[in-house]
Amino acid sequence: MPLLARFRSIGVLGVLLLLVIGAAALTPQHTFIQEANLKTLLALGPEFGIIALGVGVLMVAGEFDLSVGSVLTLCGFFFIWLVGSGLNPFVAALITLVSGIAIGFVHGLVVVKARIVSFIATLGFMLTWRGLAEILTAGVVRSHNFEQYPLFTQLVTGRLGGVVPMQLIWFILFAVILYFVLQRGRFGNWIYATGDNVEAARAMAVPTDLVKLTCFMLVGFMCSFASLLQITRTAAFTTHMGTGWELQAVAAAVVGGTSLRGGRGTMVGIFLGALVIMVIDNMIGQARLPYEWTYIAFGLVILGAVLLDLAVEKQVQRATA
């Protein structure tokens, strides 16, 4: 295997380490590596990271989901509305997760059956779901007291052994599960095959439509799960949840070595890519730079990653010729 392709994951790890060192050195009073900030980073970051894991798997299958921020918002609304109406938080969480999966199912169905390019279809849903969430809340900020459910909050936003944020545990747990599904499992081989050459996969009786549908449902599930984390943490709902996350999630996957054309990507890479985006986001806040800088940073990160991806692909092609 060509050099660049083989060391892709190690490369991402290198980028991550450089970023961490850079952030530690450059933030005022080195706030980045102070305990309080690391705890914040590892508690808030996974809300995005979990979604990025799902988006990465979907991209390996050759599809995009640009609606993740809006699905997060809509599911967040469902959750706070359900607990607000007096439902047991576990039941409310279950209903929220099911509704997230159902939304993913709708996305997948539109892409697979109506044959609309997923980039466009989910762009439409991005507007639709956020609009719906805004209408349903009628602009009112809803809050809810989650302290009345100690067991639920402990599981979702607590700290394991008083130190490790539960969000980080969930993030790692999902990454491990998805590693086995994607890279070690039968269904994973179908995901790769579907993304790499859908015709070949279909000719070998791989149920490519089902594969895509399932990946969209995974993303829906991850969005709804992240909404549980965020709503429980903030104890409030606004319609601005997850704005900009759709492209950041794509960036995380691409930084981690996932191909924009599908068929290539690893769970380790996607996981590290998500960490890179989480660190950049946090670092800009800690450096007291205006939030607009994150747009520039992510723009450059995406461009750099895509250029690297092209270089890798070229090397692979040359090795072929």
Partner: protein, 285 residues
């Protein structure tokens, strides 16, 4: 009917009176086609002759609108590629056969991955059996982990064919296996077809290039405008005679001076006439 249909249990695949419409296009007009056990049949014809449509019907990709298909003497309905594969009909498509960014082993077992008790891929079995399957085709590749994109065009065909026979195919359909290959690679692919034959696997070899198919096929079937044109043993004809017929797309009607050069060609001429009558009859309906 033609030089071939000796039905004494030797017939593996037999397709009778196959019709296929795409909207108003009548792509197959009552085509007859058969393959005997262990036989290599070349399927030729100009663009739009119906070769691809015919093999897509045989591989379950398209369903015939009319006609019968027999496999090992039993009438069968092929509703999907899965049905065809269950019978032992494997199709190797030209460009779409493999996933370039996946390993050889993952490609060979695509859609039929063996798993361990834990439900994970049985990778050691996949790797071992992949190498065995490649070796049976006379193909020596370094590692089952190599990506398909790192292989030559000829080697890729080898992987696709090895995959087909590893799953005990009785009939392998090769869709333009030599298209866009170098001379050396074409020779490799023709060797793979001989390996197939040695193992008693029948093959249908679709091609534009008569020279390629002539060296490996036992029999050649030529289609034109969705009808049978020629069905002849390779040893009873020549490349020149066949390419002449394919170029003209007809045996005699268009060129009244042409006299069929062999008995088989004459038989095929009669068959073509039947096919055209059918077409007219249908248009009246």
């Amino acid at each position: 009917m033609s030089a071939t249909s000796s039905a004494n249990g030797q017939e593996l695949l037999k397709m009778v009176g196959i019709h296929k419409y795409f909207g108003r296009v009548h792509a197959l007009r009552g085509v007859n086609f058969s393959v005997n056990r262990g036989e290599v049949v070349g399927l030729c014809g100009d663009n739009g002759a119906g070769k691809s449509t015919l093999i897509k019907v045989a591989s379950g990709y398209h369903m015939a609108d009319a006609g019968q298909i027999f496999f090992e003497g039993r009438e069968v309905k092929l509703r999907s590629p899965k049905d065809a594969r269950a019978l032992g009909i494997e199709t190797v498509y030209q460009e779409q056969a493999l996933c370039p960014h996946l390993s050889i082993a993952r490609n060979i077992f695509m859609g039929r991955e063996p798993t361990t008790v834990l439900g994970l891929l049985d990778q050691s079995r996949m790797n071992e059996e992949s190498m065995e399957a490649l070796a049976s085709m006379g193909l020596k590749l370094r590692s089952p982990h190599a990506l398909v994109s790192a292989l030559s065009g000829g080697q890729r065909q080898g992987v696709a064919i090895a995959r087909a026979i590893h799953f005990r195919a009785k009939l392998v359909i090769l869709d333009e296996p030599t298209i866009a290959l170098s001379v050396k690679e074409v020779r490799e692919v023709l060797d793979f077809v001989r390996h197939l034959k040695d193992q008693g696997v029948a093959a249908v070899f679709i091609t534009h290039t008569l020279h390629h198919v002539f060296s490996v096929a036992d029999r050649i079937v030529v289609l034109a405008h969705g009808c049978n044109l020629v069905d002849i043993r390779t040893k009873d004809t020549t490349v020149d005679e066949l390419s002449d017929i394919i170029a003209r797309g007809t045996l005699g009607d268009a060129a009244p001076t042409h006299k069929p050069e062999s008995e088989a060609a004459a038989a095929a001429l009669a068959q073509q006439a039947t096919c055209e009558e059918d077409t007219e009859a249908e248009q009246e309906i």
